[in-house]
Symmetry: C2
Subunit: 508 residues, 2 copies
């Protein structure tokens, strides 16, 4: 299969097997970049969200949920009204008049964006004599287009903004969180939810859409705590693959696998707390069974950094379809956010005691920002494996839509179905997701379930009636063992929570 | 405590204990009807959503997730552009000019809305000589105000609509669902997510807000299947409290507790499939430990029904603070929706085979529509119990934010803390939510945890060091037993999944 063939097949299977449908609404004129999660996609997305929640909770993050719609002052204070824009350019040919996002246009023309200064786009376009990619017409001037989506509400109506990120709405709750945390810092908190951006050209399926979901974790912390951070000590020997701004500038194409401690010694990063957050981001992605060769941390160069960032690294994943793409940003935001909100709101509660007696300081913020849709998309596309006789969806057991299947070998005798049905219902009763299928040959049923990410299939055969055992089949390598029906629920639970492996199951 | 005192105390505790904060953003000028879920509120809301998901999944509903933003044609087809409005009226006094939602205004003036025909509001206001409730000025004419919120997106920009309900976006996926379900009916599907309405006057905390979350389940079904519905047979002896339109018209103030079968025999409802959906709605609410005296099903009278409804019943809950309020609507929508979408989209895939050979029909829809925020609010407010010495939050173990607490009796000897910490970490490791607290006397720690819904507290004392047992305290009645540390995880798991009760724990 060529790469293009494989990409098409993956996208086709995502739709046909009920993972992602769209662009939506399919029965009308679809909206660009608008997608639906079908039944299997939604099960997987719920599991992914639970996987993320569990990891954040394990590290003592609280979760909050804030409004999607907020007044303009919030986004003036955050800096988004002034600085949250894309550079756009329009074709001057009246028959075309197409509008382009400048960076995307240049990228598609084959320019290496990492070598272009975004503040000098106009000069670059003139120097290179770049024309409209659609009609070869002359292009107008580079302009800035704010990406926030507004809406009018109330009577008389006022303008509100659909939040372009969750992070800022979390910052607004700081005084409440500080009291909730019994006035202690650091505070660990995350929010998972929608954000909205008026993208110039939605594209690449779930990767660039106008409504999308984020999971953004924040640590409110004092500067002295950033340098003396207990969780870091436990993880400082953890290795991550880093591609620093310096390496990028020196045209060094390769990332370096290095411990957090070494990265700090070598001054690639500065702060233990920030280093720990890089570990958290990296570990979350790796834990989804995404091969490490397709993961790296890339540092933002100075001209790439967002207006609030002291330091910024992206987790990038090498997509089978779209190449290296950001899935998570880790940002050292300093005291930018709470200082701005203090200035705009004049609220004293944004100050906290510093280390020196009587000193009042504004807490600093370290942020980890995931795109949930992107993480979903990458976890799914990386899992497709096309073998000679079958399509295997090799998803991590904790995020796969349905980890178990129950099959009676044949429809008759009725006892086969009765035993199977009982096993299926026991699994469901114990919160273990499973499918029950009696349609078609056992081989066909294996093929169907392999394609949607089932990890283990229990098959009930004639021997089951005699000795109360069934076969368990490991979908990955198609190997089989017999297990006792009595021990099946406990076994499934242990497999689901990684407390046992297929290899560890004793032969009976 | 008077009712008002109790209401204030409940609302105060909801905020102070980290359940609901707002109106948001609190550090700026808050937006009416805009709230945040704090750390405990969010944990509880996640649990509530999982509780709902589990119940729907148990009844073989698939889940989908559709876009929040959709093109106008969708809402023309659904009937919302034409018919989704509130009646409003404005004061003509130029110094006032206040705007009112007519039904709310009349209700607050003490009129019984069930006795007013909504199509004759203008006549009613003139007849009763009603003046502006704020300034006694003359009121203008009754007008219709569409409740949908629009937004402009794209380049050049077009108008889009923030969906006013999830249901319609689920209907649009019918052709996909039908194939996914191997072209079988009925199809059971639900969607849990945001909807947006430009409410004239957001009020009553989470009960009427402009952005809110729904959980709407749909059954796509043939008319013959509505009358011959297997799940109904299993539940026909289930009793629900019904207050029919007829009883309301006859001024009969009381609901009648009756089996589904009797309700059909007496022609209070017509269809077994619809009856089963009433059971599902009722059972979901009752399962949250909301006392049955505070639950009833109320039928819509003809002039109340939405434009799509053949029959409509609301589950109402008697709020401690706001009185009887709808939390769920169950609607027999007939073939209204798919017929409209077929007409507007011209798509053949909205037809399915009927019973007669060669016949093509449009599937019917039965709907169950919950307000998630409302359900959350009612479950929470009903759980507050103020006793002489303590505030108890008596939440169902499956939705309470943190079901377990672990306390070393005292800070020393260090072994007490070591054993406690180990138990706490074991619970977390096994996905069992718990808090660990060493601050203050054991009595104070009990009080603090009772107030936030902890169900069971494990206390580690000197005897624990000797014989590896701890006390488990049932927060509800403050009774205690000793249990073995070795068996604690299994015990907690069983309590959490209702597989054992505190009473069943053997004394050792």
């Amino acid at each position: 299969m060529t790469n293009d063939d494989e990409s098409s097949k993956i996208l086709m299977l995502m739709a046909h097997r009920g993972f992602i449908w769209g662009p939506s609404p399919e029965i009308y004129n679809p909206v660009k970049g608008s997608y639906e999660f079908g039944p299997l996609g939604k099960l997987m997305k719920n599991n992914l969200e639970n996987y993320i929640r569990k990891l954040f909770r394990k590290h003592n993050f609280w979760e909050v949920q804030c409004p999607l719609i907020s007044p303009e002052i919030v986004w003036k204070a955050s800096g988004h009204v002034e600085r949250f824009f894309d550079y756009i350019i329009q074709c001057e040919n009246k028959d075309c008049n197409n509008l382009f996002r400048v960076d995307t246009m240049l990228e598609q023309m084959g320019y290496d964006l990492t070598e272009i200064n975004l503040n000098e786009l106009q000069e670059f376009i003139e120097k290179e004599k770049i024309k409209c990619p659609d009609c070869e017409g002359n292009l107008g001037e580079v302009a800035k287009q704010n990406l926030m989506i507004t809406s009018k509400l109330g009577f008389p109506s006022s303008e509100y903004i659909l939040r372009p990120e969750t992070a800022t709405t979390t910052y607004l709750t700081f005084p409440r969180l500080y009291n909730f945390n019994r006035t202690n810092l650091p505070i660990f908190v995350f929010q998972m939810g929608y954000a909205f951006r008026n993208e110039i050209s939605p594209r690449k399926m779930l990767l660039r859409t106008r409504e999308f979901e984020q999971c953004e974790g924040q640590i409110f912390i004092r500067p002295d705590q950033e340098l003396n951070f207990e969780p870091y000590e436990e993880r400082k020997n953890y290795k991550i693959k880093m591609w620093s701004a310096k390496a990028q500038e020196q045209n060094d194409k390769k990332s370096v696998k290095i411990t957090l401690e070494k990265a700090i010694e070598q001054k690639i990063i500065q702060k233990p707390a920030y280093a720990w957050l890089l570990y958290l981001a990296y570990d979350l992605v790796k834990g989804l069974n995404i091969p490490e060769k397709n993961i790296r941390l890339r540092q933002h160069k100075d001209d790439e950094k967002a207006h609030y960032a002291h330091d910024a690294w992206d987790i990038e994943i090498k997509s089978k379809i779209y190449g290296w793409t950001e899935v998570c940003g880790v940002h050292d935001r300093g005291d930018y956010d709470l200082t701005r909100h203090q200035k705009y709101s004049k609220k004293k509660q944004l100050f906290v005691p510093g280390v020196k007696k009587g000193e009042k300081i504004i807490p600093h913020v370290l942020e980890i920002a995931f795109g949930v849709g992107r993480l979903f998309f990458f976890a799914l596309e990386q899992a497709f494996k096309f073998e000679k006789e079958r399509n295997l969806l090799d998803l991590h057991i904790q995020i796969t839509p349905v980890p178990f299947a129950v099959f009676p070998l044949m429809k008759k005798p009725a006892e086969l179905q009765q035993i199977s049905r009982k096993i299926y219902e026991d699994l469901i009763e114990n919160d273990i997701s499973a499918i029950y299928d009696i349609a078609g040959s056992i081989g066909k049923r294996y093929r169907r379930t392999e394609e949607i990410g089932v990890r283990y299939a229990f098959t009930i055969d004639h021997q089951s009636i005699e000795d109360k055992t069934v076969t368990i089949r490991n979908i990955e390598d198609m190997s089989q063992k017999r297990v006792k029906i009595d021990e099946l629920i406990q076994l499934a639970t242990n497999l689901l929570h990684n407390k046992t492996t297929f290899e560890d199951i004793p032969e009976i």
